[in-house]
C-alpha cells in the first residue's frame, strides 16, 4: 500500500512540478533530530547531546509506541545564498498540531482548531517563510509536535524550497485531502435530501427513508470533520455532531440493508435504534477529545463488524437470488470495508500515515450505486404501471370477452338443460293426458264404437289439455291458484253438461311459492283425474272439490256422492297415475271409497309464506 501511495505521490509531484524541478532548489528534509525535553512553547537549544537522530517519516506507533506528550524535531539545511524569491515550507502529511520555528522564529502552527487539539488528520501544511528569515549557510528548522490523544504522533518528510515550486504540490494535496471530501459532503447532503423527498411521496418505501438517513448521517459525520474550521461552532459541538452522524450512519445503514433485502428483523432493529439513541446521549456526556477515543475504539470497530454482517447478508442474498443489484451492493460494501479498514489501521498508526484516507471516497461509490439501484427499481415500477395502464383497457376487454363467452356458453348449457327438462315434462304430460286421449280416440274410431258427439267431446278434451299445458308453461310461473281458477271454469261446464252440481270448497290458500310450475300442474292433474273418474264412473249428483292451507300443510280433496268402487278390485290406471304424480311431488294420496261415494285426498307439507289473495 505504501508503495502505491509513493507511486501516486511521485506521479503527482512529477506531473505538477516538472517545470519546477528543472532547475529548482527544493530541499527534502528526511532526517531530523528529536528530543522531548524543553518547554512545549519555546524551541530548545539547537545543540546539545539531548538531540537524537530520527529518520522521517516518523510514526510514533512504530518508533515509540504508547508514547504521549510532545516531541521536538530539529532539521538543519544549508543555503549557498539567501534566496531572493519567496520560499516556503511544505508538510505533505502531519497529524495534529505542529508549531514550526525557523532559526528560532515561529513560522506558524499547523492547525486552525485553536487551543483544543483536533486531529487535522492528513491535511498538508504549507507556510511561507518571510523574507530575511533564511540565512546564507546553515538554517535550523524546529518542529514541535504534540499529537491529540489517542492518535499517535506522526511527522512525514518536509520540503523547503521556492513557494512557486511547492505551492502547486500543496494545492493538489489539499484538494485531494480537504476539498474533495468537502465536495463529497455537499453532494451527499444533496443526495440525502433528494432521496428523503422521494420517500416523502412514497412513504411505504421505507428503504428510501433509511437510505436518505444513511446518506445524511454520513454527510453530518464527514461535514463535522472537513468543514470544522468553517462552521461557527465549538470543537465540542463538532465532536457531538460527528459522533451522532457516525452512530446514525451505522444504525440507518443496517436498517437500509434489511429493507433492501426484504428482511424482517424487528426485534434486533428495535435494539439497534435504542443503541443509537443511547449512543447519542453518551456523546453529549463525553469529555473533551472523548469522541476520538470513542470513535477509534468503539465506533470504528463496530462499524467494521457491522459492515461484515451486512456483507454476509448481501452475499447470501446474492447466492439465493443472483440479483445484479444485490451483487453491486455487496461489491460496494466490500470496497467500503476495505477502505474503512485501511483508514482505521492508518489512524491507529499501524500502516503508513503518508497515504490518504479512503473511506470518504468509497461513500460516493456506494451511494451512487444504491441510488442507481433504487432509481432503477422505481423506473421499472413506473414502466410496469405505464405498460399496465396502456394495456389495461385491452386486458379488461379481453377478460370481459372471455367472461361473456363463458356466460354465453353457460346460458346455452342452461337453456339446453331447461329445454330438456321442459321437453321431459311436456312429454310426460302429453303421455298422461293428450297422448292417451288421442290414442283412445283413434282406437274408438277404428273400432267404430264411438258416436260423433262422443268423439267431438273427446277431441275437445284434447284441446283443453293443450290449453292446460300452455297455462303451465307461463313464464311468470303460473301458480296453483291460477290453474285452479281455469280448472274450475272448465269443470263447471263439464258438470253442467251432465247436470251435476259442483260444490267448490277451496278457500283462500294463499300463494305457496313452492307449489308453482310443474308441481302445481301435478296437483291439478290429480284433482282433474279424480273429478274425471267421478264424472265417468260414479254416477254422482254432487261433486265436492275442496282445499285449504293451514299450519304448513296443503290438503285437497275430491269427493262425490256416487256409487263408489271396491278398492280390492285392483287399482285402475287413473289411480296409478294419481299415485305416481303424488309421489313425484312428495305428496300423500289417500283414496277412500264406499257405497256413499269416493273421496280422494292429496296432502303436501309446505311452510306458510305470503298472505292470501283477494
Amino acid at each position: 500500500m505504501k508503495q502505491l501511495y509513493d507511486i501516486i505521490l511521485g506521479l503527482i509531484l512529477l506531473l505538477a512540478s516538472l517545470p519546477v524541478w528543472a532547475g529548482s532548489s527544493v530541499l527534502v528534509l528526511d532526517r531530523a533530530f528529536i528530543q522531548t525535553s524543553g518547554a512545549s512553547t519555546l524551541p530548545p537549544a539547537s545543540s546539545g547531546e539531548s538531540w537524537q537522530l530520527q529518520s522521517l517519516p516518523d510514526n510514533w506507533n512504530l518508533t515509540r509506541p504508547r508514547t504521549s506528550g510532545f516531541l521536538w524535531y530539529q532539521m538543519r539545511f544549508k543555503l549557498d545564498e539567501v534566496p531572493t524569491a519567496l520560499w516556503s515550507l511544505y508538510f505533505p502529511s502531519v497529524s495534529s498540531r505542529v508549531a514550526v520555528y525557523l532559526n528560532g522564529k515561529l513560522l506558524g502552527e499547523g492547525t486552525s482548531y485553536g487551543e483544543l487539539s483536533k486531529p487535522a488528520w492528513q491535511q498538508p501544511y504549507f507556510v511561507s517563510i518571510p523574507q530575511g528569515l533564511l540565512l546564507q549557510g546553515e538554517n535550523i528548522l524546529q518542529v514541535h509536535l504534540m499529537p491529540a490523544q489517542p492518535f499517535p504522533g506522526y511527522l512525514g518528510k518536509m520540503y523547503v524550497g521556492p513557494g512557486d515550486a511547492l505551492q502547486p504540490l500543496f494545492a493538489k494535496r489539499f484538494a485531494l485531502t480537504v476539498n474533495l471530501p468537502q465536495a463529497i459532503v455537499v453532494l451527499m447532503l444533496a443526495l440525502g435530501v433528494a432521496v428523503a423527498m422521494l420517500w416523502w411521496f412514497r412513504k411505504n418505501e421505507t428503504q428510501y427513508l433509511w437510505f436518505a438517513v444513511t446518506v445524511l448521517a454520513w454527510s453530518v459525520y464527514d461535514g463535522a470533520q472537513f468543514f470544522g474550521d468553517i462552521l461557527p461552532i465549538s470543537s465540542r459541538a463538532r465532536d457531538i455532531l460527528a459522533a451522532n452522524g457516525l452512530i446514525w450512519f451505522i444504525v440507518s445503514l443496517t436498517l437500509f440493508s434489511h429493507r433492501f433485502l426484504g428482511l424482517q428483523v424487528g426485534k434486533a432493529e428495535r435494539w439497534l435504534l435504542v443503541c443509537g439513541v443511547c449512543g447519542g446521549i453518551i456523546s453529549l456526556l463525553l469529555p473533551d477529545n472523548g469522541f476520538s477515543v470513542m470513535r477509534l475504539y468503539v465506533l470504528d470497530p463496530f462499524l467494521i463488524a457491522l459492515g461484515g454482517y451486512i456483507l454476509l447478508r448481501l452475499l447470501y442474498g446474492y447466492i439465493k437470488t443472483r440479483s445484479l443489484a444485490t451483487g453491486l451492493l455487496a461489491g460496494c460494501i466490500i470496497l467500503g470495508l476495505s477502505f474503512g479498514m485501511h483508514d482505521w489501521l492508518m489512524i491507529l498508526g499501524v500502516i503508513d500515515l503518508e497515504g490518504y484516507l479512503l473511506l470518504h471516497l468509497s461513500a460516493p461509490v456506494l451511494f451512487t450505486v444504491v441510488s442507481f439501484i433504487l432509481n432503477k427499481r422505481m423506473t421499472s415500477a413506473l414502466d410496469d404501471a405505464e405498460y399496465l395502464s396502456l394495456h389495461l383497457e385491452d386486458r379488461v376487454r379481453s377478460v370481459a370477452n372471455e367472461l361473456e363467452l363463458r356466460l354465453e356458453q353457460s346460458r346455452v348449457k342452461d337453456r339446453h338443460v331447461v329445454l330438456n327438462q321442459e321437453r321431459e315434462r311436456m312429454m310426460r304430460d302429453m303421455h298422461d293426458g293428450v297422448g292417451g286421449m288421442l290414442v283412445s280416440a283413434i282406437q274408438a274410431v277404428e273400432t267404430g264404437c264411438v258416436s260423433r258427439e262422443a268423439l267431438a267431446r273427446e277431441l275437445r278434451g284434447v284441446v283443453d289439455e293443450f290449453r292446460l299445458m300452455i297455462d303451465s308453461l307461463d313464464p311468470d310461473e303460473c301458480g296453483l291458484e291460477d290453474l285452479l281458477a281455469n280448472f274450475r271454469v272448465r269443470l263447471i261446464r263439464q258438470l253442467q253438461a251432465q247436470d251435476i252440481q259442483l260444490h267448490w270448497q277451496i278457500g283462500d290458500i294463499g300463494a305457496v311459492p313452492q307449489c308453482a310450475g310443474s308441481k302445481a300442474v301435478d296437483v291439478l292433474r290429480v284433482l282433474q283425474e279424480a273429478t274425471t273418474n267421478a264424472l265417468k264412473y260414479a254416477r254422482a249428483k254432487n261433486i265436492f272439490v275442496g282445499g285449504q292451507y293451514t299450519d304448513g300443510a296443503l290438503v285437497f280433496f275430491v269427493r262425490d256422492d256416487g256409487v263408489g268402487f271396491q278398492l280390492t278390485d285392483g287399482v285402475g290406471k287413473g289411480i296409478k297415475n294419481m299415485r305416481y304424480r303424488a309421489a313425484r311431488i312428495g305428496a300423500v294420496l289417500a283414496v277412500e271409497s264406499g257405497v256413499t261415494g269416493t273421496c280422494v285426498t292429496l296432502s303436501l307439507n309446505f311452510p306458510q309464506t305470503v298472505a292470501v289473495l283477494g
Binding site: A456, L459, R460, V463, F466, R467, I470, D471, E481, D482, L484, A485, N486, F487, R488, V489, I492, W504, L613, G614
Partner: protein
C-alpha cells in the same frame, strides 16, 4: 248470394226476420266453412260476408257491408288480424269484433281487445256455444276467462305504477268492475258472480264489455300520448 271482388256477399234482404249480421274473416277454408254452416243454421244469425284475408275484408267494408259482428282470425295471410280490428275502429263502425282463437291465450286475446275487439270465440266450441257467444256479444255481453281477467288485473296494476301523465290518461276501473275481474280470476262464472253481486247475469257480461272498451280506449290514448311525446303528432292533429 253473389260473389263480388272475390268475397262472398250474401243476401241480407233475403232474410227479413230480425237477425244479427255476421261476417267471417278466416283463411282456413275448413274452419270457415264450419262457422259459416253453424251461422247459417241459426235463425238469429245472418252471414253477410266471408273473406279469406285482410284485403278482402277491407274490400267488403268499403262496399258498405257493415256487419254487426265480425269474426276475425288473428293469423291472416297478408296482414295481422289486429290490423283489421284497428281498421274497423278507425272507420268508426259499430261492428263488434270477435277474435277467433284455438287456445284463447291471454296475451293474444288482450292484444286484440286493446286493438278494439270486444270478445273472443274458441274455435273448438260447440255450435250452440258459438251461437250463444255471438248473440251475447251483440246483446251487450263479452266472454272472458280467468286467465284473461288475471292478465288485465296485472296489466292495470303495472300501468298504475307508470308516469303521472299516463295515469291521468288511463280510464281506471270502477270498484265493481275490479271486483268482477277478481272473481273471474278465481274461476267464478258469470251466473255465480251475478249471485254474489246481486245483479243479473247479463249485467256481469256487460261490465266485462265495458272493461274491454276501457282497455281499448286506454290503449289508443297511450298510443296518442307516446306519439305526441315523440313529436309524431301534435295537439292540433289530435284535435284535442
Amino acid at each position: 248470394m253473389f260473389v263480388h271482388n272475390g268475397f262472398q256477399v250474401l243476401g241480407i234482404l233475403d232474410k227479413l226476420q230480425m237477425s244479427y249480421s255476421v261476417a267471417i274473416v278466416e283463411d282456413d277454408a275448413g274452419y270457415r266453412g264450419r262457422i259459416a254452416s253453424v251461422i247459417n243454421a241459426d235463425a238469429q244469425l245472418d252471414l253477410v260476408a266471408s273473406a279469406v284475408d285482410y284485403a278482402q275484408a277491407v274490400a267488403f267494408l268499403e262496399q258498405g257491408i257493415v256487419p254487426q259482428v265480425m269474426l276475425v282470425d288473428l293469423g291472416l295471410p297478408d296482414r295481422s288480424g289486429l290490423d283489421l280490428i284497428r281498421e274497423v275502429q278507425q272507420r268508426g263502425l259499430s261492428t263488434e269484433v270477435m277474435v277467433l282463437t284455438v287456445f284463447a291465450d291471454e296475451r293474444h286475446v288482450v292484444s286484440a281487445i286493446e286493438a278494439g275487439a270486444t270478445g273472443y270465440l274458441l274455435k273448438d266450441e260447440t255450435p250452440e256455444l258459438i251461437i250463444d257467444s255471438i248473440v251475447q256479444l251483440v246483446r251487450g255481453g263479452s266472454p272472458i276467462s280467468p286467465a284473461i281477467a288475471r292478465y288485465i288485473i296485472k296489466s292495470m296494476h303495472f300501468r298504475s305504477e307508470g308516469k303521472e301523465v299516463q295515469k291521468q290518461a288511463i280510464t281506471s276501473l270502477t270498484p265493481k268492475e275490479l271486483e268482477i275481474l277478481e272473481l273471474i280470476a278465481k274461476g267464478y262464472i258469470a251466473p255465480e258472480i251475478a249471485t254474489v253481486l246481486g245483479a243479473a247475469h247479463n249485467t256481469v257480461l256487460s261490465h266485462v264489455k265495458h272493461i274491454y272498451r276501457k282497455l281499448a280506449v286506454h290503449n289508443r290514448t297511450e298510443a296518442i300520448y307516446e306519439a305526441m311525446q315523440q313529436g309524431l303528432i301534435s295537439m292540433q292533429t289530435v284535435g284535442a
